[in-house]
Symmetry: C2
Amino acid sequence: MSDENIDSYVVPGFLANGIHCGIKEDGRKDLALIFSEKPARAAAVFTTNRFKAAPVLLDMERIKRGQAQAILTNSGNANAANGPAGYNDALAMSRALSSKLDIRDDLVLVASTGVIGRRLPVQKIEAGMADLVAGLNADGIPTAEEAMMTTDKFPKMACRRGVCGSKEITVCGIAKGAGMIEPHMATLLTYVLTDAEVEGGTLSRVFRLAVDKTFNAVSVDGCMSTNDTAVILANGRAGNAVIKGRSRDLTRFRNLLMEVLADLSQAVVRDGEGTTKVIEIVVEEAKSIGDAKKVAYAIANSNLVKTAFFGGDPNWGRIIQAAGATGIPLPVDSVGIYFEGIPVFLNGQGVYGQEQTVAEVMKKTSIRLNVKLGMGGKMFRLHASDLSFEYVEINAHYTT
Amino acid sequence: MSDENIDSYVVPGFLANGIHCGIKEDGRKDLALIFSEKPARAAAVFTTNRFKAAPVLLDMERIKRGQAQAILTNSGNANAANGPAGYNDALAMSRALSSKLDIRDDLVLVASTGVIGRRLPVQKIEAGMADLVAGLNADGIPTAEEAMMTTDKFPKMACRRGVCGSKEITVCGIAKGAGMIEPHMATLLTYVLTDAEVEGGTLSRVFRLAVDKTFNAVSVDGCMSTNDTAVILANGRAGNAVIKGRSRDLTRFRNLLMEVLADLSQAVVRDGEGTTKVIEIVVEEAKSIGDAKKVAYAIANSNLVKTAFFGGDPNWGRIIQAAGATGIPLPVDSVGIYFEGIPVFLNGQGVYGQEQTVAEVMKKTSIRLNVKLGMGGKMFRLHASDLSFEYVEINAHYTT
C-alpha cells in the first residue's frame, strides 16, 4: 500500500462501495462495486488458463465493445467449475446490478474470487444490491478493495497524479491476491481507474504492455488462477486532449500506469502466501528476452532456491542448477551470480572471502539477485517470493 | 529396497566395497567401489544440466569407448563448480584407483555426491585406496551402496534373475538420491550390474529407454542435479549367447532391467526429501505423449497440488489449474479427474456425493491420480512426491 492517506484514493467521476452480503461466513465484506458516472473506455487482460471461471468467460465477451460502466466483484466464492449453471449465475449477478443502476447490462463486468466448485449464492448478492448501490461514494475505493480481499493480509492500492496538457489526470489501482492464487484457488484481480481521456486502441495496447511488465513479471508459486482479471476504466472526466498515437502525453500516461501497476504487483508478492522475503531476480547479458525470462522463471520457481532464500542461505549452487537445467546453452565459465551486487560465482567457480557480508545481505526482506549469462545484451526482471513453512501450512489445509 | 535378503545382491564377476576415508565428518562411509573382474560393456546416461560436475565431464569422455571396469564414488563432496582444478581432482581420484588395481586408467568411471563448490580432499581418497581395494568382495554391493548415501534414509537396491537361453542371468541395481537432488545439491546416482552378455549398441539403447521410462518419469522437486549419473556394466560372465537385435532374449533382459529401475526410481521418490506420500500421476487420452508428459509434470511440480496431497486434501481445483495453464487446448468439458478410480471432476464441474470415500483414499501413502484429457489415445505415467514441512526444513538449512 502506498504511504499516501486514504483521501487520495479518489478518481473524479468514479464511485465505489463494499458491503457484507452474506457469502463469507465470518461477517467480513464480500461484495464490491466500482461505478463510473458515465460509460468508460475499458480494456482488460484475463487468465490464459484453459479452465476459465464463468465471470471471466462473460467479461471476455463484453470487453470486446471497449466500454464498461461498472465492475461488480464478490469474494468468498470463485464461481469456477460450475458448468453452464455458473455462467447463468454470473449473468444473474450482472442483471441484479444493471437493473438497480438502470444501465445497459452489457456495461457491467463481473468478477468472483474464493472457493471453486460451489454454486454462487446469487440470492444473497441480489438481496445486498440495494445497500451496495445506495452506499456508492467518491471515497469508497478503499472499501471496495476491502470487500475483494480473501486471504490478503493487507489492502493493495496505489495512486499517481500527473499532467496531460493543462489537465491533471489521476491513475488509481487496486488489487487483491495473496499470491497469484489463494488457498482455495482464487484469484488475482486488479482494477485501474483513471479520469484521463484515452483513445480505445491505445488504452488497450498500453494496458497490456504495462500488465506484461508488472503483473506478468511476478511469481509467488508459478500457478495461474482460473479467475485472474485485470481491468482498466478510463472515463475521460479530466477533459484532457485524447491520448493516442505516440504523443508525449502517452508517455506520461504510460509512466503513471506503470508506476501504479509496479506498486500493486510488488505488493502482491509481499503479501504472497507465506512470503517472508521478496527476491528481485535480474537476468542480464542474455541472447534474447525469451532466454532471460526462461532463466528468471526457472530460478523463481525452483523450490530449492526458494527454500534457500527462506533459510537465508546464499546457495548459488541451486541457482546455477536451475539456470543450467533450462536447456539454454549457457557458457558456464562466463556466468556470474551476484547477491546485492556481491559476486558469489564467477569463472565457473564460487567466489569466497565475503561470506560475512553475504550472510548479512541474506537477512534482508528484499534481496536483489543478478544473474549475468555472458551471452548478449538482453535482460528480464522478475519479483519472486520465498517458500516458507507458512506456505505449506496455508496450502495443506482441507477444502472439504 | 527389495524384500529379498542381502545375500541376493551378488552378481557373478563383480566385487564391491565401501569404507570411511574421512570426507564425511561424522564417520559414516564415504567411498564406494564397484569392480568387474574383467572389463565390462558399459553405457551411461548423464545429467543434461549445463553446469556439469567434473566427474560427469570425465565419465562422458570415457564412456564413449563402451567399456569400463570400475566405478569409484565418493559421498560428502560433489566436486562440482570447482573449475579446472576440479577436473584434475577427478583425474587424480581415478589414477589412485587404477594404479592400485593395476588396470587401464580410462576403464575407471568416477562419481561424486555432496556439497558443491568445495575442493575434493583427494589425499583422503588416496589414503583410503588400499583399504578400499583390499576389502573388495562378492557380497560387497550393499556396503558400496551404504558408502554412496548422503541424506538418503534407506538404501535403495533391487535385483532380478532370469534365463537367457539355458543360462541364468542377474540384473542388480543400486541407487542413491533423496530426491533428484539433496540439500547441498548432490545427486542421483544409479548403477546397474549384470553378468549378461549384451552387444554394446543394444546395451546402450535398452538402458537409455529404461532410464527414460523410470528415472526420467519421477519428480521430487522438479530440479536436476549437476551430477546425475546412471551407469550399466555388463560383464558377460553368465555365458549366454550375446543379446542383440530384436531377440526374445532382449525382451527378457529389457523386462528385468525395467523392473530393477522401476523399483529403484520409486524408492527414490519414497525417500524424497520430506516425502510423506507418493502420487502416481497417469495422464491419459492425450493427443501426444508430449502433451501427456507436459500435463503430468505441470501437476507434479505444482506446489499447490503437492501441498494439497500432503494435507490429504482432494483439491481437484488445483489439478485443473495446473493442467489448464500448460497452454494445451484442453476440451474443458471432456476432462476427467479420478482419485484411485473415483471421479471427482467430470463435464466441467465437480462430482459430489463420495466425499467420505475420497477422504479415506487421500490418507493413503501411495495414491493414483488419473487425468483423462479427452483428446486422443496417448498416455504418460509419472511418480511424484508431496510437499511437506520437512521439505522446507531440510532445504532451508544453511550451506555456510
